[in-house]
Symmetry: D2
Subunit: 357 residues, 4 copies
């Protein structure tokens, strides 16, 4: 089956392939009366846009978004918002090698096994290019929950982590790595360059924080806030792990060490720690929501790897072409978008059940 | 909002509180003609049942399941299967402390913030007792995909991990920890006992493997197999992290090291590694599906912790009563159940789209 | 496939067969804090209960409902509400004729064709006995939208219609036919008695009106209020037609005759007519919601009818046993319940999108 | 709320307004490997296209469809199919009257009451122009169930019905009314012309038949085939009634008269009648599926009607502009499309549950 819609009441559906004429998203369930023009979306797409530094793919795409429906006189009408981004740089390269043999780590073999058929141009539907549509939809989601600030950054590349003590929010958009630690950014410049030049690739860990989420959002038991965030994160290309709060580290703690004690505050409780990442029982506690996401290294590398052809014969493949040496970097705006999309949905769900008719 | 249904076409809905008269699950979308009686479900519930060793809660519940609908003459009819488990040991203890103050780490504060109201007896709906209903539903799911074997075990308790070289499948059901390494099980006996006697608690890591999943299952992009597994795992009480395949470790690898090369085999490709955990592009590759799940330590501890009352006054709370010193242990059958439930759903979805009409 | 859940955010799932141990509904998404005990549900079930007059089936069922979850101290908690009704009068009759041959007009052949297998005792899942669970769920729905009054009645039996001029709301619950016209009720007593004694059966038309629905409820385009009402009504056993407002009669009108003109009022517009049945563009206009539902005659009759056996041989069947001579009569509380369930769902959906966060 | 997606596993989402730059549909869940190009869709759009005779609106739209995703080398890939139709004749007329006052019978007031805001140009999202997207999606659905033939026609206009004895399938596409009775078509030419010239409008009844639907399709209880068809039909602009089989006429029959007796046949049972319209218990019986749909007269008329302004003042409005004198006529391809869409969904659902894994 194919399920290209995400969300319960604030829903988006994406469509499009890497090398088709366009890709897009239809955002459904957006409340009416919100000011929205292309200018509210474009900056977020620009953050994700390829070709902005030598550390990303050199495919040149302006990623200019058009709003085709759902607004009138600059405001949302409550009807579906159709967002379209045209592909302009589908280079007419030779795909014969990818057409004939499966690239290990990519979805090539799995898509063929599933559908008996695939669009092999640039990965087709399985390309991370689809995430542009998510970022566009996520920009709309941010406007639905303007009280929330969603902020992600790269925490580690190839196992080399930032120094938490050096965290500087202002740095995040000041280097090509969304890195909050200037020293780490300098190191990564060398590491990523080396990988790029060697035709290799690197994995990364992204951290994300959402502040301003009020206590109460979350829809237990099977649309718990953490469950929805995990699904959202794991749906992103190349993601292999998700943690909420302390995540796997919590599994090594004692109950005393893991407790998020509370004291009275002027405006609800003051928590003395946030091991839980702002979520208890699947519901927001009012603390910052914190998650971490693991991106595997880009599967496209220049080193030949053993594989098989569609006919089942042994061969080797090396993936030439335009690729991100570390796909996790451009994962930052995508993670932010998915978190915003989950939160907008949960906000409306919470209002449905716990507001006033 | 409240969303107590999981699944797309093979769906289950759970209901019930820790201290209500009963709890249960309604399984909808199960194919007809499958042999099913209580005897197919009860053994899985018995694995999860409390009170079987001193390492779990001492609440005594037979957890006897009744099938109230959906079968005829011992076979499923294709109509909803209603499963009910009566609560028999809702001890009439004094809940006044829990009613008045929020237990840190539990859902108490979040539920109250959301609903303005909560059933505080034993955690009410947020109690892990609800997972009995999942295990019952999971037993039905296993019968839908009999070609699949889902197997989980405890990989670490309190940071003390098994030796992978000592892995012995036969050990898993031979000790009270679902531990595949006899030496580790012996160590854990001491660790967990110490935590129990100290009124403390421990976290755990569960590993799970599903074999027999054919290449092709998975419903990209927003019902990807890994995305659904992450949502399923994160919906379990106390879970704070999920990894597919190498998970966070993959983020530290190079593309060369992370590649799952392929060679021709008699029956599809032979993979030379399984860093991906059996999933590429959200679709099963035919390799074993592998995931790891982090459980935080039980939040109920005897050490007093700072907290606030419903009225916002400072107080302390210690959680007396019957609790698992390591809630992750009994998470093993629950993780297995959730994985089986996801796979049954994906099997039917795959058949819907890629079978023959 | 089997889809036993109805609703988008206020959802209910029913389970149970005619001759199983019990049947029930799980209501999910109900707002918290609503006063709810069995006493709020039982009166509605009593209206639908069989055996209250000679004009309904003589099966004796107390239809006593139990709330198994979702309430605490007499109020809803926001968690799933499990409602169970035990079957107590599953008479151990001989079903060999129904097991061997298909009853025309019943679901026997279709269920067998679909599932290859069926519970033939009393129709199994396809029995109208399932509607007891809907009525129980509908009682909860009414409490979610207390400002709305849903009222249905029988408008015609066997083609003999009430006189609209004689409509008297007080009559509806004063005769065994839910008939608002005392003279018609007197005629129907004879007609239905005659049919009953002849082993024949009659169809009926039910009308339903919901007042107090504010302008704005409805979720275009594919969860339009009228679309949801049509789906809800058509999902009831024996229903073959649905009209909103003037329905088929509108198809014979000119645009001038069909116009619902408006004049200013103190509290929104005053409509000069209600041909539309209170819905325009799938959204409530604030006028009374009006629909009509056609019930076919009960398919169980004593006249032998040609049919085939499971093996495909020619035979005849006459349906002995306990049946309603006019199944439409007891459809009144069921139609009301379904309308209430749709309105509760739409109320919460409207609040989700058009309320304040 | 806004729900612009229809279907369970074969799903489509539409977007677009009457006077926006474009409108479209995203079809998700379509099986892979189906031959599909624009040429498979365009003929169905051409049947619905406005401006083809003087009996429809004179808006000139080529309604040229583009496939933007989901196919490769002329075949579906199993990924979402994005269909776009550009609006080319959004005449820049003066909408000041519609902007200021509500047109009775249209969605103007209801949309404003719901959203507090509306795109008043040509009805915005509530315009029947949206049905072009349905027809495009329906063309894809037909290819999913090629064994099924879906055929609709106009049965009555303004209360003047065809003679069933004169039914001639070849006539349906031979006149501008989709009328199977040549004599009726001749009469309607006069009637519709008169209404058009008088600035009046007429209602219509559409009949639809689907042959080739195998016994077994249908997903009880809340996705019954008839329930889905009723929802689909009632979601179409101007529809006020739906009947399956004999519909309301069945309510006046006795059980004997309504029975669809069966005799053995070479290929399953031979039914001696089809009062049920091919559906029993919500499941197809293998007989032709038959439904009837009532369209109210177009609400846009030249006769001034009392109404109110947005500010609540009394006024009158007459709807100049380009309108269908009988919107039901162009409802024929729309009803067909919706029926095909329901059947494709049900086919895949049936395969999911009752096929082989």
């Amino acid at each position: 089956m194919s399920f290209n819609t995400f969300g319960r009441v604030f829903r988006f559906t994406t469509w499009g392939e890497s090398h088709g004429p366009a890709l897009g998203a239809v955002v459904d369930g957006c409340p009416p009366g919100i000011a929205l023009t292309e200018a509210d979306i474009q900056p977020w797409l620009d953050r994700r846009r390829p070709g902005t530094s030598r550390f990303t793919t050199q495919r040149r795409e302006p990623d200019a978004v058009r709003i085709l429906s759902g607004t009138f006189e600059g405001r949302t009408t409550g009807t579906p918002i159709s967002l379209m981004i045209e592909n302009t740089d589908q280079r007419s390269k030779d795909y014969s090698d990818v057409a004939l043999a499966y690239r290990p780590g990519h979805a090539d073999y799995a898509y063929d096994a599933k559908y008996g058929f695939r669009d092999y141009r640039g990965g087709g539907r399985s390309s991370a290019r689809e995430t542009a549509a998510r970022v566009a939809a996520g920009a709309v989601a941010r406007l639905v929950v303007p009280q929330v600030r969603v902020r992600a950054w790269v925490e580690a590349i190839g196992g080399d982590a930032i120094d938490p003590a050096a965290f500087d929010d202002a740095q995040i958009d000041a280097n090509p790595f969304f890195c909050p630690d200037a020293a780490a950014a300098a190191r990564w410049e060398e590491t990523v360059d080396a990988a790029r030049l060697a035709g290799s690739s690197l994995g990364a860990v992204i951290a994300c924080e959402a502040t301003g989420v009020p206590a109460g959002w979350g829809a237990p038991l099977y649309a718990k806030l953490d469950s929805e965030l995990a699904a959202a994160a794991m749906s992103i290309n190349a993601v292999k792990g998700v943690e909420i709060g302390d995540g796997f580290a919590a599994a090594a703690l004692s109950g005393e060490r893991n407790a998020d004690a509370m004291r009275p505050g002027n405006d609800g409780p003051v928590f003395l720690a946030n091991h839980a990442g702002g979520i208890a029982g699947g519901i927001a506690t009012g603390q910052p929501i914190r998650l971490r996401v693991a991106f595997k290294p880009t599967s496209s590398i220049l080193t030949p790897v053993d594989t098989i052809t569609r006919e089942g014969a042994a061969t080797q493949i090396m993936t030439k072409g335009r690729h991100d040496p570390c796909v996790g970097i451009r994962g930052v705006p995508v993670v932010e978008a998915m978190v915003a999309l989950v939160l907008a949905d949960q906000a409306l769900l919470h209002r449905a059940q716990c507001g006033l008719i």
